[in-house]
């Protein structure tokens, strides 16, 4: 089983290397990690009784392999604790179901900070132990009681360059179908869309929060006929633009990067007025692997080198500002937190979401589905 896995990882690496998705350095580095892991694997059979493992739940897809490569393998090497990645999606409700009985099977989750906070206040998450996790390795303002930021992504405008001669440069352009004719796509679960609507309606970035929902929804209601589809997942948002079903969309920057690379720039992106948000690591209360080990895992993911590996594979902006400089120049454009890009964007207010997300989403769905 273990041998299979490593062989497969090696194949996968080779394939990605061949297809140019990761550069030579991370290929060699990855092979090194695998070699180390398999050397350890030789002893694993004898030490099986006390082999420790923890389950990290993320959103699946490429993130499973990418996180294993960037963080999991080296953590196992250092501590002997195997990290298993479960891609079933740690929605707030799924974490709640896990934690409520008091004996969860999951250890760590890749959650929205506002979910982590809401669950933490219900006593379902372990508070982050700042004596193990280093807050000095986080960006200013992106740490919470129950969640430590782990990467950044942004809701940005991606557009079909073959349709528009001049690129859109603001949310106002996104909502302007006279200047930029064509179908649009927006996020079905609302996050970032209210901000976009308000910015387009003339609200200054610093006055966004608390969001004026009435105004945002009025703007969206008036605009919704121009929306060809509301996307619910990353893959869907990509195919909408690729198939030409829409010519401009508000999508995750990670997806926009892939589109830009896959189409050789035919589908381009802009950071202008992007709504930037962090993902975060959280630890479930009474996790089977123990809170301390889980905190150690989080701390180990703060290493800037490792975060660069994740960036190169997925396009997730590093949580540790020290990583920005390690990104090769030609890739810097895709880093959402690169100082130049970050300055053009507006951060999502997690406190507002923790408080208001449920009611806002209800109203939003009512508007887009009628």
């Amino acid at each position: 089983m273990n041998g299979h896995f490593q062989k497969d990882q090696a194949l996968l690496l080779a394939e990605k290397f061949k297809s140019g998705r990761i550069n030579r350095r991370s290929f060699v580095q990855g092979l090194g990690m695998l070699a180390g892991a398999s050397a350890l694997g030789l002893n694993a059979a004898t030490a099986k009784a006390d082999t420790k493992e923890m389950i990290y739940v993320n959103w699946g897809g490429d993130a499973i392999d990418a996180m294993a490569e960037a963080f999991g393998d080296s953590f196992t090497e250092e501590t002997g604790i195997t990290i298993l990645y479960d891609g079933s999606g740690p929605t707030e409700g799924a974490i709640k179901a896990q934690a409520e009985g008091g004996s969860p099977t999951w250890d760590l989750v890749d959650c929205d900070p506002f979910s982590g906070q809401a669950l933490g206040r219900q006593g379902l998450m372990e508070p982050i132990d700042w004596s193990i996790v280093d807050e000095g390795k986080l960006r200013e303002g992106f740490k919470w009681e129950y969640a430590a930021s782990s990467y950044f992504y942004s809701y940005v405008i991606a557009y079909d360059k073959t349709v528009y001669d001049t690129p859109p440069t603001s949310m106002a352009d996104f909502f302007d179908t006279e200047k930029f004719p064509g179908k649009r796509s927006m996020y079905k679960w609302g996050v970032g869309m209210w901000e976009a609507a308000l910015l387009a309606d003339g609200v200054a970035p610093e006055d966004l929060y608390p969001l004026d929902m009435e105004r945002a929804h009025a703007k969206i209601a008036a605009f919704k006929d121009n929306v060809g589809a509301f996307w619910g997942g990353g893959a869907e948002s990509q195919s909408l633009l690729l198939n030409g079903d829409v010519s401009m969309a508000l999508i995750w920057s990670t997806r926009a990067m892939l589109l830009d690379k896959d189409t050789d720039g035919d589908i381009a992106m802009t950071w202008a007025e992007g709504i930037i948000a962090p993902g975060s690591n959280g630890v479930i209360k009474n996790n089977p692997g123990g809170a301390e080990a889980a905190m150690q895992y989080i701390a180990s993911t703060q290493d800037p080198e490792k975060q660069v590996v994740l960036f190169e594979m997925l396009g997730n902006g590093p949580a540790n500002p020290a990583a920005d400089a390690l990104i090769p120049d030609e890739e810097k454009f895709y880093n959402p937190v690169d100082p130049e890009n970050y300055a053009q964007q507006i951060p999502l207010d997690m406190d507002w979401y923790e408080e208001n997300y449920g009611a806002a989403l209800d109203e939003y769905l009512g508007i887009i589905s009628s």
Partner: protein
């Protein structure tokens, strides 16, 4: 004695694995966040819930009728056609089963989207000059659901048609009844149990649909299963989710029991 031996295993099995834990989940509708019926009040007073329920009912009823009606002649060909026809039809029924829902919805998206195969063909043939919008709306949802459900309607229908007494049909033809009359006055009534079984299966199945409407509806066709998903996972409010589920189960369950009683599926 033998009655209990036959009936009890399933009920016992479901009792342990399902009914007891289900009761625990549904109980939250009157206990979370505090004891009382306020969750039901809130659900029944929520305009979003009602608009979603109406859409779900409208689409599911339409899909049920369409899937059952289309499955009927298909099943006739499968059960009563000539041997080569039977084989071809059997392939057509079985193949979609092995396409994962994901591949199927993607298949439909590639067929029906603006730059999709169907629009391209229609334009090449000169039938249309503007692309038809056939997907990411209710039409797409219906196509996808009917496609998914036809094979499921075929099974009960085939079951009924196979067990039919052939002599009755021969006799009717023998006394000179037209093909049309034999079909409507003898064949269809004799398979009534199968028709009701198929419609019932398809209708109830369609209520729980989640993936197809989500992907083919362009995010707009929010149906009841997705709304409950939202209340359980996305923005958890389990009291409301439980109340909503309990109401759906009572409505659909009541409908089922009535149909079973009226038409006597199974009890004749």
């Amino acid at each position: 004695m033998s009655r209990t031996l036959l009936i009890a295993p399933l009920l016992l099995f479901l009792g342990v694995t399902y009914l007891v834990p289900l009761a625990g989940v549904l109980l939250q509708s009157v206990t979370v966040p505090e004891p009382g019926l306020q969750n039901y009040q809130e659900v029944l007073g929520d305009p979003l819930v009602w608009s979603v329920i109406w859409r779900t009912l409208r689409i599911c009823l339409f899909v049920t009728v369409l899937a059952t009606v289309l499955a009927y002649p298909l099943t006739m060909l499968w059960v009563r056609g000539r041997r080569p026809v039977q084989i071809v039809v059997e392939l057509c029924i079985m193949i979609p089963f092995w396409l994962s829902v994901l591949s199927r919805t993607f298949g439909w998206l590639s067929m029906l989207s603006n730059r999709g195969l169907l629009n391209t063909w229609l334009k090449d043939l000169g039938i249309i000059d503007m692309s038809l919008t056939m997907v990411r709306n209710d039409f797409g949802v219906i196509v996808g659901m009917v496609h998914f459900l036809i094979p499921f309607a075929v099974f009960p229908l085939a079951s009924a048609m196979r067990n039919m007494d052939e002599r009755v049909l021969m006799a009717a033809r023998g006394i000179g009844a037209s093909r049309f009359r034999v079909f409507w006055q003898i064949f269809v009534p004799m398979t009534w149990g199968g028709i009701m079984g198929a419609a019932l299966l398809v209708f109830v199945f369609s209520i729980g649909f989640y993936v197809v409407p989500t992907l083919l509806g362009g995010g707009r066709s929010v149906m009841i299963a997705e709304l409950i998903y939202l209340r359980i996972f996305q923005i958890p409010d389990w009291g409301i989710a439980a109340a909503l589920s309990a109401l759906i189960m009572v409505a659909v369950g009541g409908f089922l029991v009535t149909i079973i009683r009226r038409t006597g599926v199974g009890s004749q």
